[in-house]
């Protein structure tokens, strides 16, 4: 049986420090952004000029579509466009 003295428990609590809140929030918002990305990806499939503009500057294109270009959103969109 594992023995836990208080010093050990304290060390284990310290092993998982808090994550900057903005990071967690950005990851949590990914599903919301996904719905908006679906329509962007569909439009890119239909419209070659839009697709080129998107690929040239994903962040600006997302902003123009009203989507906050957080790191996970940009990464997710890039992968979908590459598929």
């Amino acid at each position: 049986m594992t023995r836990y003295d208080e010093e050990r428990i304290a060390g284990l609590l310290r092993a998982l420090p808090a994550v900057p809140q903005g990071w967690v929030q950005a990851a949590q918002e990914l599903p919301l952004a996904r719905y908006e990305l679906d329509s962007i990806v569909e439009r890119a499939a239909r419209d070659a000029a839009f697709r080129d503009a998107l690929l040239a500057d994903l962040e600006a294109a997302l902003r123009a579509e009203g989507v906050e270009p957080s790191t996970p959103v940009v990464a997710h969109l890039r992968r979908r466009l590459e598929q």
Partner: protein, 186 residues
């Protein structure tokens, strides 16, 4: 406080339950952060990019997870791959064998145990969980904790000690119930 089992949380995420996704990110965010930082030494923007990449892949690939109970090791593997990719792209000359795999195994063993402690922490009262989290994981001073929780700073040390003792009881109770040698045959 009852904690949703990992498998149930994963099943709900797969059905598109946004609340479940929030909870999943909350549950594993420290784990991923620690793997990336402690296991692979990534900091700042590199650490943030890898952190986001991991959750982005979790979100996209949840359908490919073979066993919902195995979400934690699966996330650990994704974090490992993303961190290694980042290290390699940051230094094209870095040979594969220089990627700190041994440190990864040690880190995962430690973090798995730390996750068990956090699960036990979630079963304490919210007040106890918060004070222990603030002191140990957020590294806040007695004064900061006192101000945040509206408690006299002089009482913080004794509360931490009491809550730590409760957490220890909880952990050792879990251990006893999972230890086959503790089962009495009558």
């Amino acid at each position: 406080m009852a904690v949703t089992p990992d498998a149930e949380l994963v099943a709900r995420c797969r059905e598109g339950d946004a609340e479940a996704w929030h909870e999943l990110v909350d549950r594993f965010s420290r784990y991923v952060f620690a793997i990336v930082g402690q296991g692979y030494g990534l900091r700042g923007d590199d650490a943030e990019d890898v952190f986001q990449e991991v959750f982005s892949r979790v979100f996209e690939r949840l359908d490919t997870l073979r066993s919902d109970d195995a979400v934690r090791p699966w996330i650990a593997q994704l974090a490992r791959r993303c961190a290694v990719d980042r290290l390699r792209s940051a230094s094209r000359e870095l040979p594969v064998e220089d990627v700190p795999e041994e440190r990864y195994e040690e880190t995962i063993a430690l973090l798995d145990e730390a996750m068990a402690v956090r699960e036990a922490l979630a079963e304490l009262t919210p007040e106890c969980a918060e004070i222990l989290d603030r002191f140990f994981a957020r590294d806040e001073s007695y004064r900061t904790i006192g101000e945040a929780l509206d408690l006299p700073a002089g009482t913080i040390a004794s509360r931490i000690s009491r809550c730590l003792a409760k957490l220890r009881e909880r952990l050792e109770g879990r251990n006893r119930s999972s230890d086959p040698s503790s089962v009495r045959v009558t």
